[in-house]
Amino acid sequence: MHRHGFGIYPSLFYDLPRLANTMLNYSLKQLSTLLAAKKISSVELTGEFLGRIKVLNPNYNAFITVDEKMSFAQAHVADAMIASGQAHPLTGIPIAQKDIFCTKGWLTTCGSKMLSNFISPYDASVIERFNAAGAVNIGKTNMDEFAMGSSNETSFYGPVKNPWDITAVPGGSSGGSACAVAARMAPAATGTDTGGSIRQPAALCGVSGIKPTYGLVSRYGMIAFASSLDQGGPIAKSAEDLALMLNVMVGFDTRDSTSLQRETEDYARNLAKPLQGLRIGLPKEYFVEGMSADVARAVEAAIVEYRGLGAEMVEVSLPNTKLSIPVYYVLAPAEASSNLSRFDGARYGYRAPEYTNLNDMYQKSRAQGFGAEVKRRILIGTYVLSHGYYDAYYIQAQKLRRLIAQDFAEAFAQCDIIMGPTTPTVAFDLGEKNSNPVQMYLSDTYTIATNLAGLPGMSIPVGFGDNNRPVGLHIVGNYFAEAQMLNVAHQYQQVTDWHIRMPHKLTA
């Protein structure tokens, strides 16, 4: 029965050091080719990744739910699609789904006690699109509760660990997805990004991730945090893989009122373009303060690499960068306080075991069902929206949001793409910042502005900093410039190998 590559090594997936150059590092295209050539079946591929999850997940906690029966059922469907010649590029490939995407018949918790009993009765648009493509759901990944966090420590299901260093955070909120890809428990995963939740964990775990232009990926069935900022996107090993994932995820959806109606595009179409003459904007504000020396070294080395590829550097200015965090911590909590008012213990989700009347049921269900960070943000949001404060906070933040977006518009008049660090430091230690919300919030300094402006942003691995922890390069494009950004990232990944390095000392 071992007619595929795995058969040579019966314990291949558990023999960690030997795996560096084997199938674990295969791109989605390579896996797809193996599946199409019937060198391996989807059932076998799914089984191998499930086996790896079984060994590694107890230590890394990247998955909240794994359901072998459901995954194998999808793998059988995929094998039938392949056999009948109806395969799509992702047919039969296991994909880890962030537990924020409602998945019919699967526990969908959003990392919260509030939804710890929620078996979703429907599929999110993103899940529908992966199902239609014949992809296999390999499990639901851990995350900060309701995506509110930058370290994955606010999850009701406990923190995820960083595969490069088990004492470090993986970043958040899509920490489980980034960890799963970095530890090769899944070839690719989905994430969502409200203030950096795809890019920051991708950076801290040494993998690639992209947050598309706001409105490209449907938010239907993606549990809402801050609706004007939330955007789904993929996390994978390489820019090429991200392109294939975007080809599935992006598309107009009438069920999301902010979904954008545009021509379908192939995000892989520009990957091979040379970068000769590309103008890369380096915001001077990003390089003067906050960035630690080890991150600066890796980012500067990447810039040197880009010069070698024919790009030219232009200094640009984003003068309102500093305002991003205060603006974000008004807008996001305000929208969250409204979105999360739906969790009342009446029709689904957690209900307190004891209560005296209806109001007490609401009060206790929400007090017990939400964790500390979620409560903090609901209270901030309720405060800034309350009578007498609305103009001073919410409207003021929306006005500053326009200034921040205008900064980018002016910068893009002088350059094609903007680069900088994804995060000010490499991954911090577990427990280091979780008692200080303000310090935690500052770790999203570089990523938040792109959400406020609605621009696409991505992170790719460009080396290692202190304690051998990964460094991410932040690439920001103009609206709808995803194909160009992927091209810029792909060309770098053709001349470097950071993206295929994997942690060797995984704790199994």
Binding site: F118, V330, S341, R366, K399, Y441
Partner: protein, 95 residues
């Protein structure tokens, strides 16, 4: 800016979240720190700037007033905390 204990309790009540005295005191310190950050916004004169809510300045789409969803009451109620005879049960609100 610092918030008072009464502010915290008032906002928690508006948000329908029960907080103990100890929780409210802890929240007061944390929220005051966060508002310290937020106050940086007030230094900018924005009197001539229009608020921005969506990056693309899109218009709200309308659709035909047609039925698009089928009845799935049993499926939806299978995950409800308490139901009876097809109804969601909550504590009595009218005597």
């Amino acid at each position: 800016m610092s918030l008072s204990l009464d502010d915290i309790k008032r906002v928690a009540n508006l948000a329908c979240i029960e907080v103990s005295e100890a929780e409210a005191i802890a929240m007061m310190a944390q929220l005051s720190g966060i508002f310290g950050l937020i106050e940086q916004m007030q230094a900018v004169d924005t009197s001539t700037i229009e608020p921005m809510s969506h990056a693309q300045d899109v218009v709200q789409r309308l659709r035909d007033d047609a039925v698009t969803e089928s009845d799935q009451r049993e499926l939806f109620q299978s995950i409800a905390p308490k139901t009876e005879a097809g109804l969601y049960l909550v504590p009595k609100v009218i005597e």
